[in-house]
């Protein structure tokens, strides 16, 4: 009935976890790396509880309630909010003007010379490559860095923000437009080009019918991002809500800061909703 027996284990050696040494090494390595990083980042949590800092912070936060709501401040706030929206919209429009031609040039599917391949293909190739490189450079530097530099040249105000958005977002839109155009069915455009149609004709009748919806949807999504970005850029003086918030914070005016923060959160939610609604309507 019972052929079973408990296997007696020969205990010749006590076993060690073979991974233990590696784990210990990893922990030690992490500590050795972490220590200088903490030093570099001047990580001193005690600073937070120093009397001076604590007083400033609690005073500032205590001012958050109630939010500022004097008529003239609210007027200022409304103006800044509209300005932020306007910067985002104008910036995206200019970005579109930069991105669209570059994308049309950079799209391989719209190259007549690459059919065959025909004459002038090396020139076409060089042009496309330089266009792509330009798009990469445009978006490599964050918009706020552009904004900072434009503020130095153009002075404080929304113009710097609009131009900064135009440049960075131009690069982003251009790259993504090119990708979208190339990922759709490129045969209609090829056929049109082979039939002697021009570049723009092939774009309008060959690629856009398939890609228009995705292109629009991505542009709307980028507008939503631009609203956030234009607030951020205000901190270096590029106008809008950000600039107002920067001023309020520098003056340690908690009430104003909390009003602005509330408006900012509402604005972001609104941009989210508009963008989601538009994209849903497109789909």
């Amino acid at each position: 009935m019972s052929g079973a027996q408990v296997v007696a284990l020969p205990m010749e050696t006590t076993l060690r976890d073979p991974d233990a040494r590696r784990r210990l090494g990893a922990v030690l390595f992490a500590l050795v790396v972490l220590w200088p990083l903490l030093q570099l980042a001047e990580f001193h949590p005690a600073v937070l509880f120093e009397a001076g800092n604590l007083n400033v912070m609690t005073g500032f936060l205590a001012g958050f309630l109630p939010p500022a709501r004097s008529p003239e401040f609210l007027g200022l706030l409304l103006k800044a909010t509209l300005e932020t929206l306007a910067i985002a919209t104008a910036g995206i429009t200019l970005a579109l003007l930069i991105a669209a031609p570059l994308a049309v040039i950079a799209t391989r599917a719209l190259s007549v010379a690459s059919i065959g391949p025909g004459p002038g293909r090396w020139r076409g190739h060089a042009l496309r490559t330089s266009c792509r490189a330009l798009l990469t450079v445009l978006r490599a530097i964050p918009e706020i860095v552009w904004a900072l530099m434009f503020v130095r040249v153009l002075g404080l105000g929304p113009a710097a923000g609009v131009l900064a958005l135009a440049i960075t977002y131009g690069g982003m839109l251009g790259k993504v437009y090119t990708e979208i155009l190339e990922s759709t069915d490129t045969r209609p455009a090829r056929a049109l080009l082979a039939g002697g149609s021009g570049r723009l004709g092939a774009l309008a009748y060959g690629l856009l019918p398939n890609a228009a919806q995705e292109l629009t949807s991505y542009t709307v999504y980028r507008w939503e991002c631009a609203v956030r970005a234009s607030v951020i850029m205000g901190f270096v003086g590029a106008g809008g809500l950000g600039q107002l918030m920067d001023q309020s914070m520098k003056m340690l005016n908690g009430g104003e800061a909390s009003s602005i923060l509330l408006v900012f959160l509402l604005l972001v939610l609104l941009a989210d909703a508009i963008s989601a609604g538009l994209r849903k309507a497109l789909a």
């Binding site: 972490l34 200088p36 990083l37 903490l38 570099l40 980042a41 001047e42 990580f43 001193h44 600073v47 937070l48 800092n53 400033v56 912070m57 500032f60 509209l82 300005e83 929206l85 306007a86 910067i87 919209t89 104008a90 429009t93 490599a140 530097i141 964050p142 706020i144 860095v145 900072l148 530099m149 130095r152 040249v153 153009l154 929304p158 113009a159 609009v162 069915d185 045969r187 209609p188 056929a191 049109l192 009748y205 060959g206 019918p209 956030r228 607030v231 951020i232 901190f235 270096v236 950000g242 918030m245 920067d246 914070m249 340690l252 923060l261 900012f264 959160l265 972001v268």
Partner: protein, 271 residues
């Protein structure tokens, strides 16, 4: 030619019945919004692209070249780059730890009320941008990289906490429930049953966030949070474009290096 035939259906001539009123109206509204934006901002594009202005812009661009490569500045830039990396790394690490802690209640492990509370906290942390957190933290911790670290940590906690919570909620529950069915406590059951399923995702999200935070850490210096950003702000504000160019180049190099490393690490984790 098949493709062309396919297209011709889309481009069929449209009769008056196909006239798209909403399309026309929305296009009109869009154009109106764009026109209103430019009108509201009242930017003098004429002046912007005038001869003098263009020349001024050209001079400004030219003044960045050649970048300053004196040893003193290079040393300071290298230190700034390291500091920026440290701010991003420590900020992301703190955020991963805090996010992990908040993800548990946010995934509903401690009941319904803590879930709502944790979700609200995560949403709040996430919707305030890093730069706004940085201005607040400069008040709380004084000028310097520590403020930047805290700012990144706060915003990233919101982002990672939410992602972590979603990962926990989507993990197959069987391993954890079976441990609880053999009587183990909830903490132990989580660590033996669910954590092994989700931690690779946690690491991947954190690394991805580190890439973004490097870019952000380079910029946070504009409001006084140390690193390359503070150097750039400083040199630009006293019109030292050559020095600013060096700092900009360092930013670019730093971003590229971290992107490469993170790509490598994530590839190894996936394998």
């Amino acid at each position: 030619m098949n493709a062309l035939n396919g297209q011709s259906e889309n481009c069929a001539p449209q009769g008056p019945g196909d006239f798209c009123l909403t399309c026309l109206l929305s296009s009109g509204a869009l154009l109106l919004a764009i026109g209103a934006s430019f009108a509201y901002l009242d930017i003098e594009f004429g002046a912007l692209f005038s001869h003098e202005s263009a020349a001024g812009m050209g001079d400004f661009v030219v003044s960045f070249f050649p970048p300053d490569i004196s040893p003193g500045l290079l040393y300071k830039t290298a230190y700034g780059a390291l500091q920026t990396f440290a701010v991003a790394a420590i900020g992301t690490l703190l955020a991963a730890l805090l996010g992990g802690l908040l993800a548990l209640p946010a995934a509903g492990r401690l009941g319904a009320a803590p879930r709502q509370l944790a979700r609200f906290a995560l949403n709040l942390l996430r919707s305030v941008p890093e730069l706004v957190w940085a201005t607040l933290m400069v008040l709380a911790a004084g000028l310097g990289p520590f403020a930047g670290t805290l700012a990144l940590a706060l915003h990233t906690t919101g982002v990672l906490g939410r992602l972590f919570a979603e990962a926990i909620e989507n993990a197959p529950p069987l391993a954890e429930t079976s441990l609880r069915e053999s009587g183990s406590g909830s903490a132990a059951a989580f660590f033996y049953g669910t954590l092994p399923l989700v931690w690779p995702q946690f690491i991947a999200y954190s690394l991805y966030r580190l890439e973004m935070n490097i870019r952000m850490a380079a910029v946070l210096g504009f409001v006084g949070a140390g690193g390359l950003g503070q150097m750039l702000y400083f040199h630009l504000s006293i019109f030292q474009q050559a020095q600013a160019a060096t700092v900009l180049a360092a930013m670019l190099v730093l971003v590229l290096i971290v992107d490469g490393l993170s790509h490598l690490l994530r590839g190894r984790l996936a394998g």
